[in-house]
């Protein structure tokens, strides 16, 4: 019996040690279609590599934007700069609260923002977070936060890609990589925004659906909110505009709104500004530049009003 247990433990150690070089060789040399569970995409969609390369140059900013692709496609850092706000956009594709927490743990301290605008899109609360975790593993440094993220997501693809990423980091295989500013229709703008060539959405019918939230995403969301509040940083939660056909297909938006309001100041811009599904959107849930201009202008208006109110309060005191 003891022999079985000791041999089993020895074999587990042996297999684990072999797994790492096998995985590295497989990840490096097998064709992509033959490695479904290693998905290392450096410089992938959304310019995350450029964003994280640039982030080190930013300190003591006014506003930090967080959230999914809606963030890096909806908060134009140039518009905010024109209005006197120094901002950084830390959005990433399909970013769920689990990844937001990782990014904040790494960069909140150095960015030291006065305000965090966290874009909350209901669908991201129901995602498993795998896609976004792969994006961050491939385009950022890997540390203990990455491991924590992988454990929370608990998906073999994330584990494998993380191990592969760790080895690549160790061997410095990404040191010569550089990401072009323009990729397809996307152009990276300094500060993390991605501008897309102007396109117009053709609305299609949507099936009615319900918003549902995964427990572990909501738990991470609470942790993110707490992390920000612990540093006495102001937090604004924003539901960025999506097309009306898409927005109306959710049957329980009020439920989502009520949850968000519990956490902080919350603005659902689908109820604040009226946009046209064709004129202001690139697809069913991403604004085009026309829509971004209107949305950002309104948001800045709100921020300025808020700022004025705060000043008045201080003056009265």
């Amino acid at each position: 019996m003891k022999k079985l247990i000791s041999n089993t433990l020895l074999f587990i150690l042996f297999a684990s040690l072999l797994y790492i070089p096998f995985l590295f060789a497989w990840g490096r040399y097998a064709p992509s279609w033959f490695k479904p569970n290693i998905n290392y995409r450096i410089g992938s969609y959304g310019h995350m590599y450029s964003r994280l390369s640039e982030i080190k140059n930013y300190k003591d900013i006014d506003i930090l934007f967080l959230g999914s692709s809606h963030t890096y496609r909806s908060f134009d850092t140039r518009i905010f700069l024109d209005s006197g706000y120094k901002t950084f956009n830390l959005g990433s594709s399909a970013q769920t609260p689990v990844q937001t927490k990782v990014l904040l743990s790494r960069y909140l301290e150095s960015l030291n923002p006065k305000l965090v605008i966290y874009e909350v899109y209901p669908a991201t609360f129901n995602m498993d977070g795998v896609e976004s975790s792969l994006d961050i593993i491939a385009n950022d440094i890997n540390d203990s936060h990455s491991l924590e993220m992988a454990l929370k997501i608990n998906n073999i693809k994330t584990y494998n890609t993380l191990i592969y990423g760790f080895i690549r980091d160790l061997l410095g295989l990404n040191s010569s990589f550089s990401e072009p500013t323009i990729k397809g229709n996307d152009k990276y703008i300094s500060g993390g925004y991605v501008e897309k060539e102007l396109g117009f959405y053709k609305p299609t019918a949507f099936v009615k659906k319900k918003i549902s939230l995964r427990d572990y995403q909501l738990e991470s969301f609470s942790e993110v909110v707490q992390l920000i509040k612990n540093k006495n940083i102001e937090l604004m939660l924003v539901y960025a505009p999506i097309t009306k056909v898409n927005y109306d297909s959710y049957s329980n938006t009020t439920y989502f709104d009520s949850i968000m309001k519990r956490y902080s100041n919350y603005y659902n811009f689908n109820e604040i500004i009226a946009l046209n599904d064709t004129q202001h959107f690139d697809d069913a849930h991403h604004l085009n530049q026309n829509g971004v201009n209107i949305f950002n202008k309104k948001l800045i208006e709100l921020l300025n009003e808020d700022k004025a109110r705060t000043h008045n309060r201080v003056d009265k005191k």
Binding site: M1, K3, L4, N7, T8, F11, F14, A15, L18, Y19, F22, L23, W26, P31, S32, W33, F34, K35, P36, N37, I38, V130, N155, I156, K157, N160
Partner: protein, 483 residues
């Protein structure tokens, strides 16, 4: 609790350690532990059906004793039929009521009558077909005086509920399993290692081959009208490997797990896709069910001893009932009947026991004749699986008619050709390993036994690596849980 889940990976070592360490070899304690663990395992599926399992166990335990003690044949028969009636009654209600109600209403409507018997919102209790057949074989064997009833209720309950076989078999016989439960079990290192190896191979089959094949089989079967005949053939092939690796993978894990506790379960699969005729296929596929039907249905009906018509009748009965056992759908009945049609020519010409040994025993490759026979048998099996997998008979026929159309000669199309190709490559590698290990109890039971330890362990580590590389993101339950 799925065999391929983290929960089971935690549950199994705990039970294993308690079983060998905490009980200190005390048989009574070991059996109590097995029973408690088995009920816990079952309750993880749905605790409500525990009561049904316990009732079924009590019923067969009690009727078994009553049959044995009955003073005359009439009383024996009474208790036997009481057990059979209640067991099949439960099975009928939970598994077949809606099917019979709908079929009866359809039949009446053909005669011009309108009938609505209503359908019941019933969840099929997992494993009911398996533990019912366990119990039935037990009472029938007592009635036939093949065994004596077990008076210790705990021991008998372990026979019915032993967790490795509880939800999807193998369908055990009291004559085979009960003596092992009653006997003191000593730890056997070789047996335990062999069990772990079999579990590993079962996991590979299920996770790497079955789950990846399932993705394409499901896509193609669920949208068959959108695909050309060539793709539909591939869909049938994917399903062929899905069902085999899913079920035989489950059986491997069940057998391997049982061996860790010093118990040998009945073998359920013996490389069926290397069969040279349908009779051989049925000796190698779901062996515990086939032999159950042979012993408790076919032989009591007269078997193949009577005249030609009796042979034909009995063959059709056993195959149709076997098909129907899988589920309440005409597709399963048709699948069973089709296999009877395949089987009959062999039976009537006395060629049904030509191929008893594994093909090309002791050789590297089969002869051309053997290869052709294997390919023909495999093609017949794949064709029959179309009925098994189809939503209904109409779907099966439209699927087949598209295969038989000119679109068969076009290039297959998929949305994700690369992933399909990787699954096909994995299937080829799997078939080669199965071929290499076909003379063993399972494919890797002998592979690497003569190698030195580092090399052998590297081989097993490669299997684990393949599991890590090709685990499908969507975990699918074992197909046979629904039966």
């Amino acid at each position: 609790m799925l065999f391929n889940s983290l929960n089971f990976a935690i549950f199994l070592p705990i039970v294993f350690i308690l079983y060998w360490f905490a009980t200190k070899g005390n048989l009574r304690l070991q059996n109590i532990l097995l029973l408690v663990s088995s009920y816990f395992f079952y309750a993880c599926w749905d605790w409500r059906f525990m009561f049904l399992l316990i009732f079924s166990t009590l019923l067969d335990y009690y009727t078994g004793i009553k049959i044995h003690e009955a003073a005359n044949q009439r009383k024996k028969l009474f208790w036997l039929w009481l057990s059979i009636g209640i067991n099949l009654g439960f099975l009928g209600v939970f598994k077949y009521y809606n099917f019979f109600a709908a079929s009866f209403a359809d039949g009446l409507s053909l005669l011009g009558f309108k009938a609505n018997l209503g359908s019941l919102e019933i969840i099929l209790p997992v494993g009911i077909s398996f533990y019912t057949f366990h119990g039935l074989s037990y009472v029938i064997d007592i009635y036939k005086s093949r065994i004596k009833p077990e008076r210790n209720f705990v021991y008998y309950s372990v026979f019915v509920s032993f967790f490795p076989l509880l939800v999807a078999g193998p369908i055990e016989r009291a004559q085979h399993l009960l003596p092992q439960i009653l006997k003191k079990r000593e730890f056997d290192y070789t047996k335990a290692v062999d069990g772990l190896r079999q579990i590993l191979w079962g996991l590979f089959k299920k996770i790497v081959i079955a789950d990846n094949s399932a993705e394409f089989a499901n896509t193609i079967f669920n949208n068959s009208s959108e695909y050309p005949g060539s793709t539909l053939v591939l869909g049938a092939l994917f399903f062929t490997f899905q069902i085999y690796c899913d079920f035989s993978g489950y059986s491997d894990i069940a057998l391997g797990t049982a061996r860790l506790f010093g118990i040998d379960l009945l073998r359920n699969f013996a490389f069926p896709y290397f069969s040279r005729d349908i009779a051989e296929f049925w000796r190698r596929w779901h062996i515990s069910l086939s032999s159950w039907f042979k012993d408790y249905l076919y032989i009591p009906l007269g078997g193949s001893k009577g005249g030609m018509w009796m042979k034909i009748r009995n063959t059709f009965i056993i195959f149709i009932v076997s098909g129907f056992w899988h589920g309440a759908n005409w597709t399963f009945i048709f699948w069973g009947a089709l296999n009877a049609i395949y089987f009959l020519p062999l039976l009537l010409t006395n060629n049904n026991r030509n191929n008893l040994e594994i093909v090309a025993k002791g050789k590297l490759l089969p002869s051309v004749k053997e290869l052709l026979h294997m390919l023909l048998t495999f093609a017949l099996v794949v064709f029959a699986w179309i009925f098994f997998r189809a939503e209904n008979i109409g779907h099966a026929f439209s699927y087949i008619s598209e295969i038989l159309s000119a679109s068969f000669f076009t290039m297959p199309k998929f949305n994700e050709m690369g992933t399909a190709l990787s699954t096909l490559i994995l299937i080829v590698i799997f078939v080669l390993i199965e071929w290499q290990g076909r003379e063993g109890q399972y494919a890797i039971s002998h592979i690497g036994q003569s190698w030195n330890r580092p090399l052998r362990w590297t081989f097993y580590a490669l299997i684990i690596f393949a599991i890590g590389m090709f685990t499908h993101s969507v975990e699918s339950p074992f197909i046979y849980f629904q039966f």
